[in-house]
């Protein structure tokens, strides 16, 4: 989240700073990164393992409880981390207010959709028959 910054040169609203939310953002990115480091290593291993696999082989890999749980935990944290990271990029480089609003909204729903669809898919694959 950004707040309007009053600059002596450009006036109110021409620049944005994270003076009210910067510390919380920083803390979240670092804490989630700490969780994502081990989860990411495992997730990378499973994803690379999927490459080249047939339908049955891929389902057998994801269907095991541990890889399924790791991949769900990974995407749950990774999408919030990614959303906040891309938010910073949008705030840094998109200066038109209307486009910025749109980009932030697309980012919010896209990250949520990835988390939901990914988790749903793994639940469907790993659920006991």
């Amino acid at each position: 989240m950004t707040t309007q910054f009053i600059s002596g040169r450009t006036g109110r609203g021409a620049a944005y700073v994270s003076d009210a939310s910067g510390a919380a953002h920083d803390r979240f990115m670092r804490l989630s990164a700490g969780a994502l480091a081990p989860l990411g290593l495992l997730a990378a291993w499973y994803v690379v393992g999927l490459s080249g696999k047939s339908f049955e082989e891929a389902r057998a890999e994801i269907g095991r409880p541990f890889p399924a749980l790791v991949l769900i935990a990974f995407i749950a944290i990774a999408t919030v981390h990614a959303r906040k990271g891309v938010e910073s990029i949008i705030e840094d480089y998109v200066h038109d207010d209307e486009t910025k609003e749109k980009a932030l909204r697309v980012n919010k729903w896209a990250s949520l959709a990835i988390a939901v669809l990914w988790t749903l898919a793994i639940l469907l694959i790993a659920a006991p028959k």
Partner: protein
């Protein structure tokens, strides 16, 4: 002062330096790589979500979307995804060390940044080699 004079004075004031006036250096390049790999992982995760959903639905949808991880193009996507993940992960480790005030000197930060670049490539190669051996 007239408005025109104020504008003229403002024009002359220095702006904070940006990409176009910096000589590229490794710490800067890897800082950019951190952001770019982050965005690449976002796109990669979206593609993988589509693949996983197709895998969940059945063999029909799987054969329509398995190109995301299978074949030449799929291998390229997963190779890029794993490389971006390891590079971004080690970028995070680099920031964690810098947060603690370590490796901040000219030699240390250069070494740490080289480690991020080389480590990302090494971890990618290692993962693919071990994964191929594991079958």
């Amino acid at each position: 002062m007239a408005q025109a004079e104020i504008d003229a004075a403002a024009e002359k004031r220095p702006l904070s330096p940006h990409l176009t006036v910096y000589k590229p250096m490794l710490t800067m390049v890897m800082s950019m790589a951190h952001r770019i790999s982050g965005v690449a992982l976002y796109v990669g995760a979206a593609l993988l979500a589509v693949y996983l959903l197709a895998l969940a639905f059945g063999p029909g949808t799987f054969s329509a979307f398995s190109w995301i991880v299978n074949g030449f193009f799929g291998h390229l996507i997963v190779l890029g995804f794993s490389w971006a993940l390891f590079t971004h992960l080690l970028g995070g480790v680099r920031h964690a060390l810098w947060d603690r005030g370590l490796y901040m000197d000219p030699k240390g930060r250069e070494l740490l940044t080289q480690g991020t670049l080389a480590g990302g490539i090494a971890l990618t190669l290692l993962t693919w080699i071990l994964s191929t051996l594991a079958g």
